[in-house]
Every structure is written in C-alpha cells, then in structure tokens.
Symmetry: D3
Subunit: 241 residues, 6 copies
Amino acid sequence: MRPDGRKPEELRPVRIHRNYLKYAEGSVLIEIGDTKLVCSASVEDKVPPFLKGQEKGWVTAEYSMLPRSTEVRTPRDSTRGRINGRSCEIQRLIGRSLRSVVDLSVLGERTIWVDCDVIQADGGTRTAAITGAFVALVDALRKLKEQEGWERLPVSDYVAAVSVGKVEDSLRLDLCYAEDSRAAVDMNVVMTGDGRFIEVQGTAEGAPFTEEELYDLLSLASAGIRRLVAYQKEVLGNLHE
Amino acid sequence: MRPDGRKPEELRPVRIHRNYLKYAEGSVLIEIGDTKLVCSASVEDKVPPFLKGQEKGWVTAEYSMLPRSTEVRTPRDSTRGRINGRSCEIQRLIGRSLRSVVDLSVLGERTIWVDCDVIQADGGTRTAAITGAFVALVDALRKLKEQEGWERLPVSDYVAAVSVGKVEDSLRLDLCYAEDSRAAVDMNVVMTGDGRFIEVQGTAEGAPFTEEELYDLLSLASAGIRRLVAYQKEVLGNLHE
Amino acid sequence: MRPDGRKPEELRPVRIHRNYLKYAEGSVLIEIGDTKLVCSASVEDKVPPFLKGQEKGWVTAEYSMLPRSTEVRTPRDSTRGRINGRSCEIQRLIGRSLRSVVDLSVLGERTIWVDCDVIQADGGTRTAAITGAFVALVDALRKLKEQEGWERLPVSDYVAAVSVGKVEDSLRLDLCYAEDSRAAVDMNVVMTGDGRFIEVQGTAEGAPFTEEELYDLLSLASAGIRRLVAYQKEVLGNLHE
Amino acid sequence: MRPDGRKPEELRPVRIHRNYLKYAEGSVLIEIGDTKLVCSASVEDKVPPFLKGQEKGWVTAEYSMLPRSTEVRTPRDSTRGRINGRSCEIQRLIGRSLRSVVDLSVLGERTIWVDCDVIQADGGTRTAAITGAFVALVDALRKLKEQEGWERLPVSDYVAAVSVGKVEDSLRLDLCYAEDSRAAVDMNVVMTGDGRFIEVQGTAEGAPFTEEELYDLLSLASAGIRRLVAYQKEVLGNLHE
Amino acid sequence: MRPDGRKPEELRPVRIHRNYLKYAEGSVLIEIGDTKLVCSASVEDKVPPFLKGQEKGWVTAEYSMLPRSTEVRTPRDSTRGRINGRSCEIQRLIGRSLRSVVDLSVLGERTIWVDCDVIQADGGTRTAAITGAFVALVDALRKLKEQEGWERLPVSDYVAAVSVGKVEDSLRLDLCYAEDSRAAVDMNVVMTGDGRFIEVQGTAEGAPFTEEELYDLLSLASAGIRRLVAYQKEVLGNLHE
Amino acid sequence: MRPDGRKPEELRPVRIHRNYLKYAEGSVLIEIGDTKLVCSASVEDKVPPFLKGQEKGWVTAEYSMLPRSTEVRTPRDSTRGRINGRSCEIQRLIGRSLRSVVDLSVLGERTIWVDCDVIQADGGTRTAAITGAFVALVDALRKLKEQEGWERLPVSDYVAAVSVGKVEDSLRLDLCYAEDSRAAVDMNVVMTGDGRFIEVQGTAEGAPFTEEELYDLLSLASAGIRRLVAYQKEVLGNLHE
C-alpha cells in the first residue's frame, strides 16, 4: 500500500490556478497532492549575450524552494553564498523541456523568464514545475501573440512531466516524498502531448535496474503524462484556437 | 482620492491564513490588499555562535521576494551572487521587532527562524511581514510551550506594523505601491499591543518634513496598528490563555 | 553620570579637518570624541545604469570600518566574502540623507562617491559619517561649481545627524559606545539646517518606548543637530556665498 | 558517414593509463578518441557533516575542464566567481554512478574524492569520466583493502558509461563533438558489468523522440558499454581476485 | 631631478606615531612623504586550523587601501565581490616578513593579526606597511610579554623595507608614485637590523636589468633600510631592554 | 646529498612536448623531474577594458593546480568560493615575465591568454610554468605572424626561470618539493636569453640571508637558466628565423 492509499498507477489530485500573480504575463499556482509551486513567465525585451543579433528569442528557467517548503528548513542559496547543485540541474531541465516545443525564431529578441518557486515540497517538485510552467508560458505567449499580431502561437505541442519509481519492489507513478526518499529507482520523464519523449532521467538510487523495469516505468510515466496533458488542455483549451 | 478609493486613514483589507504550510511549526499567508507574503517560523535546536553557552535562544528573520512578485521581474540574489541591501535591512528590522517582545531566556538554546517570502508586492511588504510573522511565531512558540511544558508563552505583547506617508500633500495610512513610489515622506512604524513603539523609521524621499508632520504621521500609524492588533487577537486569541 | 562625565544634553567635542586627503575632490577627518572617520567625496563622470540618459547625477555612499577600529577586531568583508548587513544599511542611510539636499539635475551625468571609513569607533559612527560627509560633499561640489561655471551650489541646506537614546532611564544626547551598547532605546536623527527631518530611526533595544519618550528624544536630537550645523557653518562658511 | 569515418555502432579507440599521478591513491589518464581526462581518487579520513557518526563512508566527484580543453577557451569557474551549472550536474552524475556499486558501510568514516579534469574535450567527457574514474576508484580501494585488511573489495560490479544520439536521422554510438553539437537526441547511459542500468539521461535537443528510438538508442549504448567493461576488465583484472 | 627635488639616494621624511588607535594592542600611523598608513596589531587567542595543537602561534597580515587613497578612486574589494590580486600578494609579503623575526613557539596558541590600511598612497605602500607594522607588532608583543611574564621579547631583530628602482636611467631610493609608475625596474627589499635580507623582489617593468644594476639597487636599498631601522630604534628603543 | 642524488648545481631532466593540445594556438606539456604542467596560449580578439582603444595587445596568465597534483589533495578554488592567494601571485608573475619580452604594440587589440595547469607538483611549478609558457606563447605568436603577415615575431628574447635555494646549509639549483619544503632560503629567478634579469624573488623562510649568499644563489640560477634557454632554442629554433 502507498502512504496515501493510492494505487501504483494513480496520480495525486492536480489543480492548476491560472493568473495567480497580478503582474506576471503568465502565472499559475500548481498543486499536486501536497506539492505546491508558483510558476510565472515574465517577458523581457532582450536576449542573453550568446544570442545577440540572431533575431531569435530564448526561454530560460529558475527554480528555487522557500526555506520552509521542506520538512527540515533548508538555508537559502543567497545566505549560503553559493548556488545549490540540485537547483542548477533542475532549472536547466525545465528550460530545455520548455524550449523543445517553442519556436524561438518567432519570439524576436526576447527572453521569457520562467520562475518556479516551491511553496511546499512533497515529492515531484521538478516535474510539477514543468507541468505548471508550461501553462504559465502559454499564457504569456498568448499575450505576446495578441500584442504582436502573430498568426499562430509559437508552441508546437503540450509538455508535461511526471516522476515514476521503484519502491519496495513495486513500480509506482507520481512518488510523494515518503516514497521518493526510499525509492530504489527514481525516474523523471518529460513528454509532449503526442506521446514523444523530451527527457528521460532514470537513476538507480540503490541497486541498478533492468531493461524490463525501465520499459515498465516508461509506460507508467507515459500513461500519467497523458492524464496531465488532458488536464492542461482542459485548463488552457486548444493551443491553436 | 487614493488609487484604490480608500480614505486617508483607511487600511486595506487584511487576511491572515494560519497553518498555511504543512511542515513549519508556525506559518501564515498574509494578504494586505494585493500584497501577499508567506511567513513561517521554524524551530532549530541550536543557537548562533555568539550565543553559545548562554542558555538563551534567538529569533532571526530572513526576507526575500519571489522574482515576479514585482511589476518588473527582479533577479534573484542567488543568481546575482550578492545579497540585496534592501533585503538585508528589512530582515534585520523584522528580527529586532520580534525579539523585542520575546523572552529569549525561556527558549533555551534554540533559534526560531522566521522566513518572510513575498509572493506579490503592492507596497508595505516589510510591515506586512512583521504583522504576519508575529502570528507564525506565536503558533510556533505555542507548540514549543506544549512540548516543553512551559508555564507561559514567552511573549510579552502583540506586535504589528504599518506604513504611513505623505503623498501629494496628504498624510495617508498603509500606502500601496502606486502611492509609495511617489511619496514625499515614507514611514514604517512597529508597535506593541499596548501602544508603545518598537521601531520608527521615517524617511524624507523628497523634501524634509516638519515636526508637526512627523507627529501626525505617528498618530495615523498608531490608529492603524491598533486595528491590526485587534485582528491578530481575533486570529490568535489571547496570548496568555 | 555619563561614562565621560558629560551632561545628558551635551555633545562630545567635535572637530572636522578639511582637505584631509591629497587626491579626493573633498575630504575630511571628523572626530567626535574618540570616534574618528575619514570621509571623502570623489567625482566620477558617469552614472549608474538606472540613471543613464536622464541627464541627472547621483550621490552614493559606502561605509566601512577598519578591522581594528573596534574594541575586538572585526574581520574584513572582503575576507569574509560577504557584505555586512549593518554596513549596507548605513551606507544606504548616508546616501539618502545627502541626496535629500542635493539638486541632482544640476550635476549632469556624474556620480559623487562618498566614502566613509571608520578609523576608530566609539559610538555614533553613522551619524558622524553623515555630518562629516556633508562637508566633504560640499567641498567637492564647490570644485565642480568652479570648474563647470554653475551659478549656484546645488545644495539646498546643511545636513547633520546625531544619535540619542535612553540609557539607565535617562535620555541622553550623542551616545558613546559604552552607553550605546546598553541603551534601551537607540535613535538616529538626520536633520537639515532649517530644523526639518530627513530621517528618524528609533529602535527599542529592550522594552518598547512611549510617545512621550519619543518626543523628548527628538527634541534632544534637534538641539544637538542645531549645534553641529552651527559648527559646519563655521567650517564651511555660508553655502551660497 | 561519421566525421571520423566510424560506423554508427563503433566506439572510438579507448586507452586507460593507470597510475598516471605520483601521489594519488588511484589515478588514470583516459583517452577516448581525442577526448582526454585525468581521473584521480583520493582518500580522506573524514566524511561530510551529514554522514558523521554513521560509521559509513562517502564517494564524491568533482569535474572541471582546463580552460583550453575546448575549441574556444572557456573562462575558469574560479575567475568567474561562480560554479558552472553544467559542471555541477556532471559531478553529481559521476558521484551517484560510482556510489551505486560501492558498499559505503565497508569504507568506515572515509571520503573518496574523485577528481575528473578534462585535458581535451572532443565529446563524451562525462561518460569518459565515469569509465576512467571507476578504474582510479578501484585502484584506490585496492590500496585501502590492503592497508585495512578487508576481506573483499567493497565494489559489487564494473561501471562504465557511453553517449549515444541521433544525428542526421541516424542513431550513433559514442558521439564526438562535431556530432554532439548538432545531435537531435543526446543520451548518456551508465551501466554495470552485468548489463543493468545505473543512469539513463536522454534529451531531445530539437524534436522530441519516439519510444522506438529510445529503445534503439539504449541497445546501442548497451553494446558499447559491454565493450568498455571488457576493456576495464583487461586493465584491472577481476574485481574479486 | 626627482619630482620632489630629492637626491637619488635620499629617503622621504618618515614619521611613525605610536599608539594611534585606542583599542589595538599595538598601532601606528606611518607617514613616508605623502604615503600614509594605519598599521595595527591585534592579539587573538586562537590559531588557524593548520596550526592547531602545535603549541605555537601565528602572525598574519591584511592589507587594504581606502577607496580614495589613490589618485582615481579604487572600488572596494567587498563591493567588487572578489579579492584583489595585488592586495593578496602584498599581505602575504608583510606576513612572511614579520614572521621571519618572531619566535612563534613563544606566542602560544595565539594569532597576531596585523592590519595595514592605506589612507593615502604615494608609492611605497607595501614597504611602508612593513616598516610601520613592525613597530605595531613590537608594541603588541611587549604587552603580551608583560601580561604573560615572558623573559624576553620573542623578536630576534628589527625589520624594515624600502623600494628602489631605475627611473630614466638613474637608480633611486624610495620611489614616489610619479616615479614608480614609470620605473623600468622596481624592487622591494626587506631587511633585518643586522643587514641581512628577508625578501628581495625585483621586477623589470620594461627592459630586463643587468647583474650590475641589481647589485647597485641592492646597496641603495641596504643604505635606506639602515636609516629606517635607526629611526625604528629611536621610536621603540632597544628591543631587549 | 640531494633526495634524488643530484649535484647541487644540477637541473632535473627537462622535457617539453609541443602541440600537446588539439585546439590551442600554442601548447606544451612540460616535465621537469616529476613536476608536470600543461601550458597553453589562446588568442582572443579583444583586450581588457583598461587597454581599449590603445591599439596594443595584452598577455595575461592564469595558473592553477589539479586537486591531486599535490601530495595531499588541495580543494579547488571554485569549490572554496575564493581565489587562492598563492595562485594569484604566481599568475601575476607569469604574466609580467612573458610581457617583458613581447612587443605588445604589434599584437593589435588582442589578448593572449596563457593557462598553466599543474598536473603534478614536485617543486618549481611556477618557474616550470614560465619556461613552458614561453614556448607555447611563441608557437601561438608564430601562427599569428603567419596569419597577419607580420615581418618579425614580436618577441625580443627567450625567457626561462628556475628556483634556487639554501637547504641544510648548501646552495642548490632547481629544488624538488622535498627540498623546497624545508629550504631556509627560496629564490625564483626569471631571466632572458641574453642573461639579464626579469624577476628576482628571494625569500628567507627561516633565518635571513646574507649578501654573499644572495650573489651565490643568483649565479647558480643564472647557470641553470642558461641551460634551460639552450633547450628552448633546441625545441623552438631561432626566434627570428
């Protein structure tokens, strides 16, 4: 039995509140079980130095946790004077995932800053960040589309993500913290609405895992992401209408 | 007329949601108009080096803004690689204000970390932080009282804070951002439940101000804080019952 | 009795040596009792990024203490690898205070850097910094006036500052370190030559203070600042002659 | 055709020089095509704070590139004053991979520091780091085994890693830089000697990839790693003899 | 002719004011021409980690310049967020020079922190720092001798330093800034009272220099240091009386 | 007897492998006994801010040690979050030494970055860095000469460096680590091919040294450098042919 009574292939309840912040071009509060994040998408009219003069835009992400989003208080990066390795890795993943469905050449010399701030962490914060950030990003791009008179939203497909893992010899979808912290295998999967992979990151925390386990985990993730994308569609409507 | 139609001596609507976070010993979401902060109080069983061996505790605060809590996105301190001067100043103010009503010698060798994170900023974030943090702190101390069998809560009085200022030649209570950004005088006042001052910080942003203006601003603040403390009492009940 | 035998409303001896440094456009050594600072004003022909293209100038301050200006050696910020919160707060106060009397639009795209370095600290370093820095600033601006052929010095009034506090139940002017370190109330006041307030920062270090105490402290400060401004006039002569 | 004339499923030439450094407990120079790294394993008789008192050891990795290991010189982290996000991510991967086959409880309160420094980078530096670091680690542990009189080497299996990817619609093993920089899919795979997975990290750089492509890439990687492990066995001999 | 009319082998006027700071165990204001520094020696009752448990002490130095000690304002290290390479080098030189005449085993587990802060820089600040710091150090050690009842001052000889250089084809003693900035050869020499060398650092700024020039510069330096030591003796009296 | 059986005036075996790195404009692996460094010279088409618009170039150096180049592992600067004082000093020395023989006005607005990374440290790393970096620099400048059609290589002479010291009362050339770590006097000397001095840095680690010892050490160094330059000539051929 799972700590919260779910079946192995069951997601926690998901809620996405759009327009959560007053100033941001796009923003959501996403709740997946007890995991809660604020994701915002901010438009800046310039690009990082390595893109200057190339007439295309950029999408970048930052990820951080409030100090008391965690069971034990985590000191702030700004106080510790150094960036957290884990945060680094996660924000690179979020940025890559979102960029894979955005046509950067349509953006012009603009950066979309996606900020994912964890208010409460109960497992799956990085995948919730991607699922929520996608919604905030679409809202921001819809505003830009309006404002710039673009013909189409420069987004090729939905993007959502979920974690899967092996806990006590059973394969499970959407691990909560109590499961994640003792999982033997931990995998994060990012997919598009049409069922293709953007990112697969599987890690043996204890013993290595077999090919068969890998394939079973991937199909568990795939089914979960299908449901998350269905919910994104419900929230956002069709991308190109 | 004020931007949101208030009278000069009128507060914005205030709401404090207790137990906002699952893990923290005390936590609130405080909303004052469109200003929103999460304040949490975390108990750690050790003290900073300068207090070691003195058999007393410490209360310290950290303050930060989510990047898109502001009209224009503010880069993170951790990315800029340096601490923001303004945040520094504010967290020192919050810490001092809370310590002034706590009997640190009762705490034992413990630190209460008070984290104030601004989700949305529409003026008055530092005073809202104090007003909300006080509630989170009391909740954390009540848990400690229970756990340690203290006879009394080691808190001598309520603490709340408000901003006042001079805008377009009128003196006003609880400035929103549109007022704050063009105030000629800006003052933050922190008071106890019995009407005494913990901190008075008045700044001429443009022309200096007279003694009379100072006194009028202080009584405006004093009336506002009385109402905030009344609300804290409603939320928390009597401190010593 | 006060540690140095002064009466409650008595300032320590004040001396300001002008042109203390060979290279700076303006510089002083200010001594208030055993508190000694070097304040310099340096002219730079550019403004910070947020002012570019606005055809006005800027006045900014930095404050630091020599490691052994204090009773116990204080490690350098550069060695500790982080900026001191207290220094941050003080340099923001000095900058704001000086800017409140300078007409920045006359300066052109120039920054005046005001450096206040504490050689010896015996209480009241931040207020001494303001009182001394004002003199260095005027000297630098007089040079610029000469050089640029301005009609008038772009300074509207004198600025000086003093600390007051409540120590052992008596209200006192210009606290030395031995008083400051055990004051129940500590207040820093910055005023103009015509007796108006630029900044009032009052803090209860122990018990909160009453409205009456606040008013008495302010009039003590006001009298002290009147004497400091008189001395600045003696040293600088009339601002507009 | 591949830039260096290889077949899609062909590895570049691999050479591992053991005992490359005079002082390190274990060290190699690993060359895979033009990619060259020095990997060393250093034994320190203490553990990081989070492991204190648990009577087990730790294996941690650091990864860095010489400034001119790359086509265009890369500024040093120490000069830029901040850690590189990519390096962070890679060193976490190396550490996790090695720990997955080491019995930390045998080590006692010791840390093995694994340093992977890239002398020349022509693609696949992170996977070469893992393959080489494993050899350096085994050499260091063999010395400890001798010195401590352990009965067995606390290593459960060989570990090697390789990159695979999709370049110009063909799936290829062991990408060189010219391929890696324009790959549509880029995947790093870490496996044990018995063919199980430790880590799978697949990323769509351009278009997302299908389930079938994922499976084909994994079997390409699996075949490559089998050959790398065979080479490690040749170099190291049997782990438990 | 030299800019200030001196003869090639002439020192600038030197003045050392002892006990310049109220709190430091030893302190001086040293003036050599227009070069002015405050040097202080502070006693701390612990040693750096690398010396723990060895029953000996340490002497270490820090060197910094006030921002406007220089012709053009120099930004502070703490603001720039990184330590200045030149300061680093100088403080290591000062520390080494002083340690070479102190018997560290007598100190016990104590550190003497020597702080050299440049108030005004007109060439030769590092050598003036050594010459002044020696006096501050002796004063601090004399206090410790008294307090600890040591039989002898643990200082084997006087230490002083001077710069020499080749400017416009003439060899000169004690370069001022105008000379230093266009010297072809610049040399700093640290010697003991008995005429032996502690440190010789000669640098060709333009063309390399010959053996003969090196020897001539060393004897110029040696004569200058003899006079500086004579002045130290006058100021401090005999070290062992 | 010396630890490795050499005579006092004997160099360790020296080998310089040119073109060690694939991408760098110039690069060597230099081995002097067990001391090994990679030195590379990289051309960048811009100059540091202080040289902009002056139509001349710059040569700058960076020096670092691999963590396990040393007997005990040295933590990385990037991990410690601060630059090492010793590295700072050494890279300034390397840069100055190389600039003293390069005609910067010929380079145009270009920077040559010289990176010296110590693979294995057995004493004399800074002098080996200079000796090796000179070769890498010449190779890079020869490429530039070709590419730019310069008439002559803008290098006036060879540059090499060596350490000398006093160990157990004997004066010795080219100290290995076992000697260096207990030397009473340690001296680094940089000279040109025609026997003139670029830099002399002599330090008394224990007792001060006499003038005679200084002269004897300098001639020992001078003889050693003559042999190193002979080897550079063999490796590089004549500079101007």
